[in-house]
Subunit: 244 residues, 4 copies
């Protein structure tokens, strides 16, 4: 099968990212600016760079108790090298852990021209949850979501998708009489949509953000004793069966 | 880079494994026999097949508390599909979890012509642990190791490597005055060495054996609620620092 | 989160799989029988064991050119250990590579009481492909599918799902006037459904089967020079852009 | 096993990274600064931030032909989700692909007080390659290494390890009469050592840098047809064998 790319190239004369010389990027552009360039094909302005930094930092690490960290540290503890631990951590990032960013961005972008009331009506009729809304602990407002939206507002990034995301929150209250606040995944989804990111890189942005957190935890795990083992579980199956 | 293989081929006229027609193998040979064929290049006899079955069954699943199962179930719980969960489980299989099979087989095969006393002397002088010896719980004898060696004995598989493995156990006691019994990893290492398996597939045999256990646990995990989260941990780091 | 399992346990007194003592299984049951036990909770009879062996052997290895092997060998060539290569190989097993087993088994099991004609009508109306039918090369009949169905017939395993699978093939011809023969994924899906396997382990059976093939290829790759690099690709992107 | 961390925490009152409030970091610190904080435990100064940006950008993406990209795109092409593709890509990052950073940093840090001449003498006597030196194409000087060292010089980052790295290059020429220039991996190793990074995160820095490149390539792969298959390979094994 043919291998073809428009993203980058590297040969003895140098490397190029989206048309720019890699050595020039090294000298003049930050990691975050170059990530934006890679994913969108053009350089960000100052506001977009600040916004993307805020999004990455918001997801960089949420402690040892989350699935992506415990699976990573468990894998490393068995004696696998760092790259294997990072992979095991990233494999925990799915529809229920970081994945709502993608789900919410897809919902917003695919319903660009549908009014909030109608979007909510469809989900309510199908008895489906709208991705990006509701939080186990924050019943009325998710502070991290609000902080990101405030930054997006200040930077002039917030536009139609951020508006729509908040309209949906209001419609949810009106139509279901339940408070289902826009959560941090939903806020990131709305902001990256206003920044013209394809919803299909939503999970990718979360993975980029979380990888340094995984690496830091694996570095710490290197000083722990092998091998992680559950110290509390229940065997609820059969016992004492005899072979025929 | 050139891609070349001596193992297998598949084309519209059919598939071949080590020279044999795949459809004939399907009809006349078991999974275990075909695994032996794949890895060694020739078909096993009846004793080798029984021995390999016993080795695979011995490692197939040791409960929910081990690293390969908890990392797999944690990954799936985040919303990733089955293949991602299996991969996360296999990534926990390293030098400290299943990996001693490879270490012990390497030690045995690379010291084929070295007397047991001298092997032990070298490890003792370098203050290194000999892989495949010692067990947290079984201080004098590991029952699973003994069962495997007994089967190898009965089938006429046990030969120079099984003898050497037991000589090393005796030398360890003589030279260190500590009981470090041959454990299940060490027993498998000795037996597969007597079966002419390259030590470099030692970890591979364990991975083949454990994959069905991981799949069974992931099937069970599919009915659990997302997302796995540690309910007991300690944050021992700093708090309340202010940005400059 | 609570960890609970009905599958297996292991403690200093021994290990148990679905109620049976692991040491007894080692001595009396094959790898394939124990895999069946793990996944279904009871031991297979002789016919089920033969059938499962045939299914595993049919999928064990299809050469170096398929995605699961090239991704595995590429990963190992970068210097990662065996377990990382196996994981990279398994990660290539998705909806389009081995995954049709799961899709077809789901379709069959969820339409247990729906006549073949109606199933086909629904897919045709929605302009969707029915998983498990059609083959790039075999336009009228997939020989490996036929061989598996013949074995299922001979062993008395083939029942309602195998019948339904063939009815669907006939209906496809009748309703679309296209020959879309039951392929090997579809045949496995029908047979495992008649063996009472949950469709949700369909991809898992393929992964179990293919893991030894991946290990064999990685063993071969260990003697190749690092690092795999495409020797033929096209850079179709921009060049010579200047930073502002 | 006890789970304990000094890195980060998250609870309903907010999240903390190395003692700093996550919301404050979101607002005031860049992604790169927060990565430095995560890995080193304190915030970087302006020069360190610029240097780390240059290192990340230098490794972010080197085209479609490298192992980490082809394994990632191959995995995705089989129908697995983004996170599985990213994991497959990262699993290609090993001792021979990105891993020399770690090897070279280890060599430098573990020989902190050994003169360059003696380090080279040891490697030469053991007939081992010194990690971080030599390049397939650049026989006398690796331009990317030189650019990074120049930036390190300008920022006042370059210190004892950068000096040592260049002394080793000179000693290699003197003792072996071969030109083995410090390559980009070796230059990064020297610079991160002068920045006080533990050599055990060397591969981690490369993984963090490359993850966005992998995500960008997977985004592009989403529009390709499934499934990647080698179109050129050789089957060099046996044929036409008959079962006994």
């Amino acid at each position: 099968m043919d291998w073809k790319t428009k993203i980058s190239d590297s040969n003895p004369n140098g490397a190029v990212i989206r048309g720019y010389d890699l050595e020039e990027l090294m000298q003049h552009k930050s990691f975050t600016e170059t990530i934006f360039l890679l994913l969108q094909g053009h350089l960000p302005n100052e506001q977009q760079t600040k916004m993307l930094n805020a999004i990455f930092v918001s997801s960089i690490d949420h402690g040892i108790a989350v699935a992506s960290i415990t699976s990573a540290r468990t894998a490393l503890s068995g004696g696998s090298p760092l790259q294997a631990g990072v992979a095991a951590g990233i494999l925990s990032i799915g529809d229920f852990h970081g994945g709502a960013i993608e789900g919410a961005a897809k919902m917003l972008q695919q319903n660009k021209d549908t009014p909030a009331a109608q979007i909510v009506k469809q989900f309510v009729e199908q008895k489906k949850r709208i991705p990006g809304y509701g939080h186990k602990i924050y019943k009325s407002a998710d502070p991290r979501a609000q902080k990101l939206l405030q930054i997006a507002e200040e930077l002039g990034i917030a536009a139609e998708y951020c508006d729509k995301a908040q309209d949906i929150q209001n419609e949810l209250l009106a139509q279901t009489e339940k408070q289902l606040p826009l959560n941090v995944d939903g806020a990131i989804a709305a902001i990256i949509s206003d920044m013209q990111f394809d919803w299909r890189v939503g999970k990718g942005l979360f993975i980029i953000a979380r990888t340094p957190g995984i690496v830091a935890h694996l570095h710490e795990e290197m000083d722990e004793k092998p091998v992680r083992r559950l110290d509390n579980y229940e065997y609820a199956g059969e016992k004492g069966k005899k072979l025929p």
